[in-house]
Amino acid sequence: MKRLMLILALFATLAALSLGFAQKSGGTLIAAWAQDPVGLDPQIASARSSLEVLENVVDKLVALDPQGKLVPSLATSWEVSSDGLTWTFHLRHDVKFSNGRPMTAQDVVYTYTRMLDPATGSGQKYLLGSTQTVTAPDPYTVEFHLKTPEVALPAHLAAQASVGIIAKESVDNGTINTQPIGTGPFMIADYEPGNQVVLKKNPYYWQKGLPYLDEVDIKIITDESVRQTSLISGDVDWAISVPPQSLSQLQNDPNIVVDKTTAGAYWYIGVNLKHKPLDDVRVRQAISYAINRKDITDAMTFGTGVPTQDPIPSSSAWAFNYAPYSYDPAKAKQLLTEAGYPDGFRMQIMPTTQYPESVRGAQVIQQELGQVGIKVTIKNLEWAQWLQEEGKGNYDTYVCSWNGLVDPYDFFYAQQRTGQVFNFTGYSNPKVDALLDQGNSAKGFDQRKAIYQQANKLIVDDAPYIYLYNPANIQAYQSYVKGYAARTDQNIDFVKTWLDK
């Protein structure tokens, strides 16, 4: 009798365990996106809405696990030469594109050569750093030949779908912008611009048994309150972002899961150092003292963001939490007087309607700077016009964000180093340049962290960017959607998602 009971108990436990871990294959996930993808060519498309689709369609050599550590993906291992100028990646042998063709090193060479080619017009090639050429000594080995050493190259090759490997066929037959062919868990079955993107399971996907879903129907619902309603009413299973004002309502809904994590991102005021009096560091510091970051963050994120004075979020292993400023309008006025502006001056701030939070933030900033005599006019532009003005330097200050950042290089290099592609402010500090270059080649976490700490201090003190807050990455979905987790690098990853219904 006892033995029978034991056997029954064993079976019951096994049954219970298998029920708990039984991912169900199949089904279609209906996902709501906030914006239409702006083209789907991974090497040109910069819009987050495009990259979020592409993350499920292309794979990269290296990937980031949910904790932000580098793990193998298409490459199983990698090493760098002693002079730091040649990176070698060893590829998996069993990878196939979604059209059935096996992937080899030649495809990697093709992808990155196209990215480096100026005629392609890629805005993302800065991720390849100082890479001059990419070669394939054998079908499963790729070599990157760099001009100057770059410790962070593997981290960049894991950054976002822009560095995903594509098949030459999609460029040759002209469909690279609507149906790029990659090795990812899904392939693009249909793309109706402005309406939906249909992803179907990649039958040749190299991770066996994955993905669980047969299909992901991405619906573009631009109005955030309608997106929220679609989620609550069950018309969609998953929503990419919901109005932060409604978070508590959604959190109290037993059928909805609100998935919140810190994002590797920051919002900031960009200052045009070519416009007087913003070229004077005391004026910029005065602005930094005159604003109340907590108020601005509350207005912009309804409490979900974390105010900050330096860019790297506290949750990151690289966080410095350097905070020399405080909300001190008296000190701000004092600095302005020292700089020769006791009665303040006139200044323009440029938010964009594309991001309503930037408009709210600009209004609070206008009000707070007004208290110290800085008369701010708000130039609120729609996205295409904002990009034009920002690209041409026609602004005093603007409000924007950087997203998808992981390595400290991402937070500083392209934006603050002299002459780099995204140095829009015109900031140039030789000490910072030297430190950032050093950070590229220094080895070891502790050594790099010490270098970036110094760079961080100099940049925050010089205030070409006045950092405001680190946003949260918030997604919401039905409780039967399993195997999905919001990520710090803000990638949307459906590879292990399944539907418990």
Binding site: D36, P37, V38, G39, L40, I44, A45, S46, A47, P118, A119, T120, G121, S122, G123, Q124, Y126, G174, T175, N177, T178, Y191, E192, P193, G194, N195, Q196, K219, I220, I221, T222, D223, S225, V226, T229, S230, I232, S233, G234, D235, E382, W383, A384, Q385, L387, Q388, E389, E390, G391, C400, V421, F422
Partner: protein, 316 residues
């Protein structure tokens, strides 16, 4: 009506469309912002912008671009490809036109279902209680912003009552009931506002006709109210009503653009708005041309319908 008249009207229509296309081609590139920058986003460098603009053919002189576009339409019936995603615009138009048409007709139907009865009821006893009631309702209807009404309907019928879907378009291949279910809310949003505006015009038209001598004559002859209204009044008011519908189509179509955005309705309106925001010039030009064509055709049809409705109208 002579064939000559018809041909003259068609020739004028084509000239108008040509003029519209030249105007849009000239004006649109003047708007700040470029599709190359929209694609590259914040990460645009002058070099990559130039490279992309070259790929998009935007560095050619404007007359060359216009000629290439025009010959594409006239010779091949093709609108070209989207600059942003490279897809053929004709294909997008083919998919989206039925969606906008069905929304427009459904909205017009709902609008007429509101306007005709209310207009007639209030005209029969002007100044009475019913007239006042209709007046108030139509005033409210005219003042409501379309996006507000749309979101309100979604909240009530999709979120709270769960009777209807919140967004989207179901093709008729999915079944008749799903097809209708998706149309109801967006069509009602556009239709209520349009109907409220039309109700007032129907009322004035009816009042004017009712005040005419021949109506008094008919009544004096002893004809019953139903016959007076049915046979004489309605037929004569029809001309004004048809004019009103023709004029209202313009407002209705612009309302539909907003409705399409709210309800994520894949029609030409949302296509036009996205093209504007993304500076997708060829898509925008195609949209403007299509809207201009539809206005011109509606105009023509309205004029031609007078011949059917009023035998005294003649076009030489």
């Amino acid at each position: 009506m002579s064939l000559r008249y018809l041909l003259q009207r068609l020739a004028t229509l084509l000239l108008v469309l040509l003029g519209v296309s030249i105007l849009t081609f000239a004006i649109i590139p003047l708007v700040p912002g470029s599709p190359a920058r929209v694609m590259l986003g914040v990460q645009a460098t002058d070099a990559s912008v130039a490279a992309l603009q070259h790929k998009m053919g935007l560095d050619r002189p404007l007359p060359v671009q216009y000629w290439s576009w025009l010959s594409g339409i006239v010779l091949h019936g093709e609108f070209g490809n989207s600059l942003i995603n490279g897809k053929p615009i004709s294909e997008q138009v083919r998919h989206r036109l039925p969606a906008t048409l069905v929304l427009a007709f459904a909205a017009l139907l709902i609008g007429l279902l509101i306007a005709l009865p209310s207009g007639i009821i209030s005209a029969l006893r002007p100044g009475g209680a019913r007239d006042l009631g209709v007046s108030v309702m139509s005033q409210i209807g005219v003042s409501i912003p379309d996006f507000w009404l749309g979101i309100l309907l979604i909240l009530v019928f999709a979120q709270y009552l769960r009777w209807l879907p919140s967004t989207g378009y179901a093709p008729i291949s999915d079944g008749l009931w799903p097809y209708l279910k998706h149309i109801i809310l967006p069509a009602t949003t556009a239709g209520v506002i349009s109907g409220s505006i039309m109700a007032r015009f129907v009322r004035s038209a009816m009042l004017e006709v009712l005040g005419n001598d021949y109506v008094r004559t008919a009544r004096a002859k002893g004809l019953g109210a139903r016959r007076v209204i049915g046979k004489h009044v309605l037929r004569n008011a029809a001309i004004t009503v048809v004019t009103i519908i023709g004029l209202q189509m313009a407002t209705l179509l612009s309302s539909i653009v907003v409705v399409e955005i709210i309800f994520a309705w894949p029609g030409l309106g949302s296509m036009a708005l996205n093209a504007t925001l993304q500076r997708d010039y060829p898509v925008l030009q195609a949209s403007v041309l299509l809207f201009a064509t539809s206005f011109a055709v509606i105009n023509l049809l309205t004029d031609l319908s007078y011949v059917l409705l009023d035998p005294s109208v003649e076009y030489a």
